[in-house]
C-alpha cells in the first residue's frame, strides 16, 4: 500500500537538514537540495503553525513551520489532503515530544541525534496494515 506521506525533510531555522526520509532514492540529490532550499525560503514566510502547499509533477508538497523548524513532506497527488494534514500533524507532535523547543537551546548541532526519528514516524495505519500483511494477508 502506498504511504500517505512519502518523503519528509525536517530543517532547522538555519536551513540545515536535521532529518530526511526519501523513498525514491533515484531522485537527483542536487535537485532535491535546490528544491528544499526554495521550500525553506517559502517556509520562512509561514506564520507559526501555518501550512502551505503546492503541486509539482505527480506529487503534492506541504510545508509547515513550528518553533523555527520547517517540516516539508510530499504525498501522491491523489491522496486526500485531510489525511496528509493529519499525518503531518502527528509527525510535528512526535518531533517536538522527542525534541522539545528547549532541546534546541543546548543542541550541539550534531544531526545524528535525529536519525532515530524514522522509528517514531511510521504511521499507525501503515503499521496496522504491515501487521495484517505479515500475519494474515
Amino acid at each position: 500500500m502506498e504511504k500517505v506521506i512519502q518523503d519528509i525533510w525536517i530543517l532547522s531555522d538555519a536551513g540545515a537538514v536535521l532529518f530526511n526520509r526519501v523513498l525514491d532514492k533515484k531522485v537527483d540529490e542536487q535537485l532535491i537540495g535546490a528544491l528544499i532550499s526554495a521550500l525553506n525560503l517559502l517556509a520562512e514566510e509561514l506564520e507559526k503553525g501555518g501550512l502551505s502547499n503546492f503541486e509539482l509533477k505527480d506529487k503534492k508538497y506541504i510545508i509547515t513551520k513550528q518553533h523555527g523548524i520547517s517540516f516539508i513532506v510530499n504525498s501522491p497527488k491523489k491522496t486526500k489532503e485531510k489525511k496528509v494534514k493529519e499525518e503531518i500533524k502527528n509527525i510535528v507532535e512526535k518531533f517536538f515530544t522527542l525534541y522539545p523547543a528547549e532541546f534546541f537551546n543546548q543542541w550541539d548541532h550534531d544531526i545524528s541525534i535525529f536519525s532515530d526519528f524514522e522509528n517514531h514516524i511510521k504511521d499507525s495505519l501503515q503499521d496496522t496494515i504491515d501487521k495484517f500483511e505479515k500475519a494474515f494477508w
Binding site: M1, E2, K131, F132, A135, F136, W137
Partner: protein
Amino acid sequence: MVDQEIFLNFIGIIFELFILIIAAILLVLILKKYFVKRHNLTRLLFFIFICYFIAIVFSWLSKIFAVLEWDLVQDNAVVTWFYNRISDFRISELFVTFAIFLSYILKVNVFEKGYNTLQKYITIIYGALTCLYALFIYKNENDLLDVGAFLLVFVYMVMVYAPFLRRAIESYRAVEGKSYKQAFLSLAIMSVSFMLIFLSFAIDRVFIFLGSSGFTVFYFLGWIFAVVGIFGAYYGYIRPKSTE
C-alpha cells in the same frame, strides 16, 4: 410439551450442526494460513477460533442431551456437574470467554502500539470473574442465573469488540485500495456480529425466564449473527491477499 421440546432441540441440533461445519471450514482455512505465514498472530487467531468452535460443540452437545433425554442427575457428582453446565451452556460460555480474552490480545497486537495497563487488568479481572460465574454461580433450572451468565459474556464481548470495531472502521475510512477497505469493513461486520450473538442469546434466555419454551427468534438470530461473523472473519483475515 415434552415432545415439542424434543422437536425444538432436534431443530437446534440440525441448525447448530450447520454452524459447526462452517466454523470447522474457517478453522481449516486459518490453519492453512498459519502454515503459510508461520506468524504468532495467525496462531493466535487459530486459538481464538478453536475456542469458539469448542463453544459451539458444547452448545450442540446440550441439544443432543435434550433430544436423547439423558438423565445423569443421580449417578455421579462429577459427571452431573459437567452435564448440568454443558446443558445450560456454561461450558460454551467459558470457551467464548477464553476466545474473547485472546481476541483482546490480538486486537492490541494488530491495532495498538502496546497494552494500556488499566485496560489490561480490567480485561483480565472481568474475564476471570466471568469464567468463575459460568462455572460456579449455577443452580439447576435457575433461568435468571443463566440470563446473568449470557449478559456477562455479552458485556465482555462489547468491552473487547467495540474498540476492535472502532479501529476497524477508522482503518476502513483511512485506507486506500479496494481490497484493504473490504478487509477492514469485513472485520467491522465481524465485530458487530459477535457482539450481537450474545445479546440475542441473552434476550432468548429472558423469554425462557418469562415462561417461553425457548428457541425464540432470538436464538436463531444469535446463530445467524454467528454465521455473519464467521464470514466477516473469512473476508477480513483469510481472503485478502497481500500485494507484496
